[in-house]
């Protein structure tokens, strides 16, 4: 595809359930980022991959959050034992990782924990 895609677009989970959010970056982009965006706020960094290597996970809020990118393309963000405070939009972005630093964002997954 031409852009970053994410699935599902909307997810409702009961508190305590595990969820998995998927990101398909732009083909050939080596860098992949996950951000969390609360209503009315800017995106907050969660984690960064370069190819399959997770180089920065300093933004993950707790050990319930886990991300992977095993083949250096598609990435999955997993949240275990979801809590109400996890409700947010989860954005994925990719970047060519060469000389450019701009990031291309997907539409996001809106997670609601009830």
């Amino acid at each position: 595809g031409a852009g970053v895609s994410q699935s599902p677009r909307y997810k409702v989970a009961k508190r305590g359930q595990d969820v998995a959010l998927r990101c398909d970056p732009i083909s050939g982009h080596v860098s992949l980022f996950w951000y969390q965006q609360a209503l009315g706020q800017g995106p907050e960094f969660l984690t960064y991959f370069q190819n399959e290597a997770q180089l920065d996970k300093s933004g993950l809020p707790s050990d319930r959050f886990f991300a992977e990118r095993p083949e250096g393309s598609v990435s999955t963000l997993k949240i275990q034992r979801t809590q109400q405070e996890d409700s947010a939009v989860y954005l994925c972005a990719s970047s060519s990782g060469q000389a450019s630093y701009e990031q291309y964002f997907g539409p996001g997954t809106r997670l609601t924990v009830t």
Binding site: V4, S31, F33, Y35, G40, Q41, G42, P43, E44, F45, Y48, Q50, L55, D56, S58, G59, L91, A93, S95, G97, Y101, E102, Q103, Y104, F105, G106, P107, G108
Partner: protein
């Protein structure tokens, strides 16, 4: 602590006027500063990037300035159009780090 401030109040202007949005930061020495546009229900879209050693960058009707002494960036949209109505986010990037730190954004409303 590090802080990025954007005017949280919406900016309302008339079509054809120049919109100026402000991004101030403290306790930060960014190597790059980026501006993104975000429409409701969509992800941010990259607009412009300016480096710490650049004072000004232009692209069509957009202009960004970067003053590392004042720790401020200004984002201008000239000849604004209703289609420019959106939330505009500034984002800072440290040297050697790929993660972006975003401000909370300023909503711009251009009245026809």
């Amino acid at each position: 602590s590090q802080k990025i401030e954007q005017n949280s109040e919406a900016l309302n202007i008339q079509e054809g006027k120049t919109a100026t949005l402000t991004c101030n930061y403290t306790n930060y020495s960014p190597a790059y500063l980026q501006w993104y546009r975000q429409d409701p229900g969509r992800g941010p879209v990259f607009l412009l990037l300016i480096r710490e050693n650049e004072k000004e960058k232009r692209k069509e009707r957009l202009k960004v300035t970067f003053d590392t002494t004042l720790k401020q960036s200004l984002f201008h949209i000239t000849a604004s159009q209703p289609a420019d109505s959106a939330t505009y986010l500034c984002a800072l990037q440290d040297t050697g780090r790929r993660a972006l730190t975003f401000g909370s954004g300023t909503r711009l409303q251009v009245q026809p």
